[in-house]
């Protein structure tokens, strides 16, 4: 399953960097970071949603919020979501409201899909750990 997450572009190499940080001192590091990311990005997205409504055409404000979200996606390797963030920022740069709205919908969609896939991934890892499966890597 992990391989398909990479093959389909949901995650990139940066996720591996994060995984490499997991060790005996912090055995659940990856899941903790992902949980924090999903929560934080949810909050950022609702800030953006409010800003889109409350501050029409305030491209600087919209862009500033999205820059933060893009940064988080980048740090964790959330590749597809990052690309949609960049597309939103491009539309801000062009002063294109329609483009921003469309891109934001895509960001939300990618977030939802990524959340679902990562939650399944961790569930599989937990099951593999619990049953002490011989095959540790889940393809």
């Amino acid at each position: 399953m992990k391989k398909s997450l990479f093959d389909q572009g949901y995650l990139d190499e940066q996720f591996c960097q994060v995984e490499d940080l997991q060790d005996e001192a912090s055995p659940n590091f990856v899941e903790e970071v992902v949980t924090l990311f999903l929560k934080d990005s949810g909050r950022l997205m609702s800030n953006i949603e409010q800003a889109l409504e409350k501050y029409p055409r305030d491209f600087n404000r919209w862009d500033a919020y999205m820059q933060q979200l893009k940064g988080s996606c980048c740090s964790i390797g959330a590749s597809r979501m990052k690309n949609e963030c960049m597309s939103f920022r491009d539309s801000c740069g062009q002063g294109n409201v329609e483009g921003c709205m469309r891109a934001f919908q895509k960001v939300k969609r990618e977030h939802a899909v990524l959340r679902q896939k990562l939650e399944s991934y961790f569930q599989l890892l937990r099951q593999a750990g619990a049953t002490g499966a011989a095959t540790r890597s889940i393809k």
Partner: protein, 174 residues
């Protein structure tokens, strides 16, 4: 190859008015083995030893970046502290930075101007410490960083080996 940059400032007619050349040089340590004689091995700790125990202050407004950067640094043996988000007033930064050897600052913070922070740290610095390292996803920020007293730049997303290499480079070039 020389890791430099050259640009021309054009006047209103589009003709070059002035040109600037920036070159990055790696400073070589003035001490050579012939000066030190038998104590050479003890004088120069390996780069990893220089990094271990380094006191680092992280300044970033993004929780994810903070958690991941902290873990990278701890992996290298650093002792990491971070400012609570929102407390980047001149006094709090100065006080926290004074007790550290390295300050790592995210250039793309929303409410805080990282270059201001870097300048303030440089101004209140006495002696060698702290160094300042910037993290950025933009290209071509090196000149602006150098003007603010920033000693090193890391491209985001941070990769462990690049972090280590940049730390070693900063620590070896005084």
């Amino acid at each position: 190859m020389m890791q430099g940059n050259i640009w021309a400032i054009l006047d209103p007619q589009g003709l070059p008015e002035s040109m600037t050349l920036v070159l990055r040089f790696q400073l070589q340590s003035p001490l050579t083995s012939s000066n030190l004689g038998g104590s050479f091995e003890q004088q120069y700790a390996s780069p990893s030893c220089q990094i271990a125990g380094l006191k680092v202050l992280l300044i970033d407004d993004d929780d994810i970046n903070l958690v991941i950067a902290r873990k990278f640094l701890e992996k290298l043996g650093c002792v990491v502290s971070s400012l609570p988000s929102g407390s980047t007033s001149p006094n709090s930064v100065g006080a926290s930075a004074a007790s550290c050897q390295l300050v790592m600052v995210n250039l793309e913070m929303v409410r805080v101007n990282a270059f201001d922070v870097a300048l303030r740290i440089r101004q209140s610095r006495s002696g060698r410490w702290p160094f300042v390292m910037a993290m950025t996803s933009e290209h071509n920020t090196w000149e602006k960083c150098a003007q603010s007293g920033i000693n090193g730049v890391l491209k985001k997303p941070v990769i462990l080996q690049e972090l280590k290499d940049e730390l070693v480079r900063i620590l070896q070039s005084t």
